[in-house]
């Protein structure tokens, strides 16, 4: 199982150029934003957490749809399915590898981006914390979509309908928890706890659903 984790990490590092890439990607996304909304520092710091969360969503989605497809195309998926390491675990590991390689660097880089967006320390800390807790959920949700995409040759549409709406709650609670940390009246803990609950929920449901789809969809 560690072998699988290492292989998947290696694959995403090898091809794209490594963790640096995730950070660079995020940097470019964030650098693009001020061009849109203008150099108003106040406004930037207000929409900062939302932008960082959207960047994370995008980074998590890019490449996620091919989580299993690459393995299917070269035939590895067959061999993964044949082993009796519980398939759920295999899926979980693959999600983890995707998250580690593509999303974690963003979480680590987020303070830097917060500075660019003129956010204050508390806000930066809150965004980083919510990202750390919430972003794995994006990977788990995506895994279901990726598994469905593999098993239905024409599942493309279904994937987007399945995945993106499910990510909205994660995004909403993540963003609102980050704001709650700064804006006084709103309490930080409730949305944060909900976010944690969502992640844990999807950590179970996601791999289960994905494993089910993979088992039933093979041919």
């Amino acid at each position: 199982m560690t072998a699988l984790l290492l292989r998947d990490l290696k694959l995403s590092v090898r091809a794209g150029g490594g963790a640096l890439i995730g950070i660079l990607f995020f940097l470019t996304v964030v650098a693009v934003i001020p061009f849109g909304v203008g150099p108003d520092l106040n406004l930037l710091s207000r929409i900062g957490p939302a932008i960082i969360w959207i960047g994370a969503l995008l980074a998590a989605l890019l490449g996620l749809d091919r989580l299993f497809q690459a393995d299917r195309d070269d035939g590895s998926l067959d061999l993964l399915l044949m082993q009796e390491h519980p398939l759920v675990l295999t899926v979980l590991i693959k999600c983890l590898a995707h998250w580690l390689a593509n999303v974690l660097p963003l979480v680590i880089a987020s303070p830097l981006l917060g500075l660019f967006m003129n956010m204050n320390e508390v806000s930066i800390g809150a965004v980083m914390l919510t990202l750390l807790v919430g972003s794995p959920a994006l990977a788990f949700i995506g895994a279901v979509g990726a598994a469905v995409a593999v098993s239905l040759p024409r599942g493309g549409l279904l994937v987007s309908i399945l995945v993106l709406p499910l990510t909205i709650p994660v995004l909403i609670f993540g963003v609102s928890a980050s704001y709650a940390a700064v804006q006084e009246p709103a309490p930080f803990l409730p949305p944060f706890l909900i976010l944690t609950a969502i992640t844990m929920f999807f950590a179970v449901i996601g791999p289960l659903g994905a494993a089910l789809a993979l088992r039933n969809g093979g041919d």
């Binding site: 290696k10 590895s76 067959d78 061999l79 399915l81 044949m82 082993q83 009796e84 093979g218 041919d219």
Partner: protein, 214 residues
Amino acid sequence: MRLTAENLSAHRGEDLIFSNISFDLQGGEALVLTGRNGSGKSTLLRVLAGLLKPPSGSVHLSYKDGRQAPNLAEEAHYLGHRNAMKPELTVRENLAFWKSFFGDREGGAGFSIGDAAAMVELEQVLHLPFAYLSAGQQRRMAFAKLLVAYRPVWILDEPTAALDVKAEALLASLMRDHQSQGGMLLAATHQPLELLNVKPLEMKGFEFTAEEWE
């Protein structure tokens, strides 16, 4: 070691590809599937590997001492039309991954990566990314994957596709070695393969449309 399949059948889409296939195989024997393109050889092998659920029939594997194996898939290597190797990784990395992911099953031990590569006569390309190998070299390395972890049953779908004549003979001798150590072979092939204790099975292809709707 003994493998029995009873009354297997398989659907693809709505079509019944074959039905009522039964056979019985002892350790050291080889089941060789032949038949025209599209007659269902690959389908049968995928059913045996547990990748397709057959609508009817069953497969049982029992060990030498009579115990029932829980699952054929776990005791088997499957080499399909595709090589299951990552083009971005070097050959050595690929083999190392499969070696540690598969682990050995009881009754034998896998070869080291260097040995396995030497057995398919390709030690000198271990450091290259898999994508850089020629078609035949890729196939040989995919075969080396079977050697790095031990499995008593090998399910092989056209193992010698894209190989030159010498390599074909080489792989055939590796398969015979596996048999003579008590392993089982299930292979689909278009070229005659020189194996031991061959049980031929000719697939006839397309049986009937599924009957559920009749």
